[in-house]
Amino acid sequence: MDVNLRILRYNPEGDAAPHWETYQVAVDPMDRVLDLLIKVKAEQDGSLSFRRSCGHGICGSDAMLINGRNRLACRIRVDQLGKKISVAPLPGLPVVKDLIVEMSGFFGKYRTVKPYLINDQPEPERERRQSPGDRARFDDTTKCILCAACTSSCPSFWARPEYVGPAAIVQAHRFIFDSRDEGAAERLEILADENGVWRCRTIFNCVDACPRGINITRAILEVSSAIVGRRG
């Protein structure tokens, strides 16, 4: 079948502003949007630029706005979208070229929440023990691949780019609720800041956007509750 594929193109070395280009692409209904982009690059315009690596939803390189929703291009099939497909860069982040956005701000925020295990106790000779129940407590947020689909779908982030954003809170949650970690107080202090969890308006865009199916809003609410509980 043929698909009408619209791509928001931008070449910083020539274009004054982003503009839509349309491509007719012969596809199989089981093809992913990433396959279409690769096909356009191979057959119609080699200068089309986008990030991609693993091609199956684990590396998080190819998050983009597809038919109005943030998706990984390698995880969404043509038969789920229909014959008209539009692809644009992630919203709310500076566009560098075509579908490539500036990610350094996003990773910078990730770093601010101390995304690493904090535990200064002497290490035992073998593994630290953790019950299956304690392990399950933070399982959901270990799935995050830092693709930025959630943060760049968040209206609170669009309105206030200083907001740390859902992805960074998810990463903080993964440690705050890990029974082996002792850094919860430090992280809650950071997230209680004016650009922390209170910016979340429970709009649920992030949950819809997450390619890993993480219940992000719940994680944010759990972190908020922990902050409140700490103060109480």
């Binding site: 070395e13 191979a42 080699g46 690596s53 693993c54 998080g60 290490e123 953790q130 399982d139 830092l146």
Partner: protein, 581 residues
């Protein structure tokens, strides 16, 4: 721009990150360069587990793990290295847990373990629970955990810097030492030099030379090809692993963990055909054997509906096991195949997965340049791009992760020792010029009718069809001619993108050159090896020939292709025996 450091790590997968962490802990001024962002590295896609003889669920010993590794590799494994692998697997897994890796847990809170192909108790008696896992995203958690620790320890990252050349003081083939790298910054196309005493290549594999592969688009063998071009040999390139259970047509992996948890392989008649090939281990035989068995079934007309695939069946495992222990791969089957694994069997076929060969190193992850183990001072390699060799002719499941943990850690420690006793190299005049000329020649070329996409496609086709699970002289000879033809055509390859910012087409052209070099070596080494061993299966020479071929190949770049030499295998504990399961 010139960046002076003491150590440079190229590639931010598991091996590179662990090395960087060791260097940071030792206070060595280190930069990590990656053409992606670190969390995009392919280590993250490893699913099933990482083996270590912890014995948390049943008796296990590192000696058994070592034996399985040697036998799994069809006795081409260097046994001194395999001993280190199996011993240090235990402490590295424990250290990962201490770093925060969220392993699944046993009811008493220990690291949970499951069965995996080729891993046995008591030297081959039966499957053993050795693979430590975090659901079926073990690699993701390893990558995340190591990146987190690097952040904690202040490692300096240069994200989206693609290394395009290696720098040496003198000729590395004649005693010259590593001096740094040249990197292309994707954001603006500028070339930067990074000067350092110690350089680690941890650039991963090169599965993208095949049409059906589990490998990321980025896996184009950059570090391996750059070594080869600088006169450093590459080892055992004829051995490339095909993983039995790839998604039909696109090669995405369904982890061996599915079989480790009890999944079965079925032919068109609904038979568990592995009983005819490996009666003791069945579906948990090593990957080379399972992939060959699948080809045999397909050839005998017992593929599903007579076609070129078989079934992986996990229905009987039940919803709880599937959702708790195999969630990602069930999701892959749903998304990429439209199949519901809880209700129907999943169509699978072998997919190009792992390079056993690569840059030869010793057990300190130092690159060696000949059959005598002569070290290239300051140059290190670890992970899939390296060949220690702990995998020999066929790697066991999970041992890729064990390899990158153990030898990434060793690389970092050895680099720190080395950097402490030598002076930093002086800047090299015009260091970027050779590669700048190479890149400008591609970018400036007028349209010629030859494109990156077409040449790459033809390469992937011939490698898949002629240099796959089964090989013979006719197929390989034809493949060699085709690769040479493609090399000639690649001299004329032209690109549409003339820009500097994120010129991904230019970088893909550069990567295609690496793939062609490595494919040429793979075919030549496969043609020369007139025996069948591990993943290298010659139909015209179906037997293993220890008398003639119990040796590693070393391919040196020559004028018209590789020159092959050979080196001995290290045998310490286990004499070669027939390999049955």
């Amino acid at each position: 721009m010139d960046h002076p450091f003491d150590a440079i790590v190229v590639g931010a997968g598991g091996a590179g990150l662990w090395a960087a962490l060791e260097l940071a802990r030792e206070g060595v001024n280190t930069a990590v360069l990656t053409k992606l962002y670190p969390t995009r590295s392919h280590t993250g896609t490893a699913q099933g587990g990482v083996c270590a003889a912890l014995g948390n669920l049943e008796e296990d010993h590192w000696e058994w793990h070592m034996f399985d590794t040697v036998k799994g590799g069809d006795y081409l494994v260097d046994q001194d290295a395999a001993e280190i692998l199996a011993r240090e697997a235990i402490e590295t897994v424990i250290e990962l847990e201490h770093m925060g890796l969220p392993f699944n847990r046993t009811p008493d809170g220990k690291i949970d373990q499951r069965r995996f192909g080729g891993h046995t108790s008591n030297y081959g008696e039966g499957p053993v629970r050795r693979a430590c896992f975090a659901a079926d995203r073990t690699g993701h958690m390893i990558l995340q955990t190591l990146y987190q620790q690097c952040i904690k320890h202040g490692v300096k990252f240069f994200d989206e810097f693609q290394v395009v050349d290696l720098l040496f003081e003198g000729d590395p083939a004649k005693g010259g030492r590593a001096a740094g790298v040249v990197a292309h910054r994707l954001a603006d196309g500028q070339l930067h030099t990074f000067r350092a005493k110690a350089v680690l290549l941890s650039t991963g594999g090169f599965g993208r030379m095949f049409r059906i592969t589990s490998n990321a688009h980025s896996l184009t063998g950059d570090g391996v090809a750059l070594c080869y071009r600088h006169g450093i040999p590459i080892q055992d390139m004829e051995f490339f692993q095909f993983h039995p259970t790839g998604i039909v047509g696109i090669g995405i992996l369904l982890s061996e963990a599915a079989r480790g948890e009890g999944g079965t392989l079925l032919n068109d008649k609904g038979e568990r055909f592995m009983s005819n090939y490996a009666p003791k281990l069945m579906e948990l035989a090593p990957r080379d054997m399972v992939s060959r068995a699948m080809y045999q079934e397909i050839r005998a007309g017992r593929g599903i509906g007579g076609k070129d695939y078989l079934y992986l069946d996990v229905r009987h495992l039940g919803r709880k096991v599937i959702e708790e222990k195999l969630p990602d791969i069930t999701d892959f089957a749903r998304i990429y195949q439209g199949v519901e694994p809880l209700k129907e069997p999943v169509p699978v076929q072998p997919t190009a997965h792992y390079a056993m060969g690569g840059i030869p190193t010793n057990v300190f992850s130092e690159v060696v340049r000949d059959d005598k183990g002569t070290v290239v001072p300051g140059l290190f390699a670890a992970g899939e791009c390296a060949c220690v060799s702990v995998h020999g002719a066929n790697r066991l499941g999970t041992n890729s992760l064990v390899d990158l943990l153990v030898f990434g850690r060793r690389a970092g420690r050895q680099m720190a020792r080395y950097a402490g006793k030598v002076e930093r190299p002086q800047p090299i005049a015009d260091a970027v010029e050779p590669v700048r000329a190479e890149l400008e020649a591609i970018r400036g070329r007028e349209a010629s009718g030859e494109s990156v996409a077409v040449i790459r496609k033809e390469l992937q086709d011939v490698m898949m069809d002629n240099v796959g699970v089964y090989r013979d002289a006719t197929l390989l000879t034809a493949a060699l001619a085709k690769v040479k033809e493609l090399e000639a055509r690649n001299q004329k390859v032209a690109i549409a993108d003339r820009g500097s910012v994120f010129n991904t087409e230019l970088l893909e052209a550069q990567e295609l050159g690496y793939l062609l070099d490595l494919a040429h070596v793979t075919v030549s080494a496969a043609l020369a090896r007139t025996e069948s061993r591990g993943a290298h299966s010659r139909e015209d020479f179906p037997e293993r020939d220890d008398k003639k071929w119990l040796k590693h190949s070393l391919a040196f770049q020559g004028k018209d292709g590789p020159t092959l030499r050979y080196k001995d295998v290290s045998i310490t504990r286990f004499q070669p025996k027939p390999r049955t399961y």
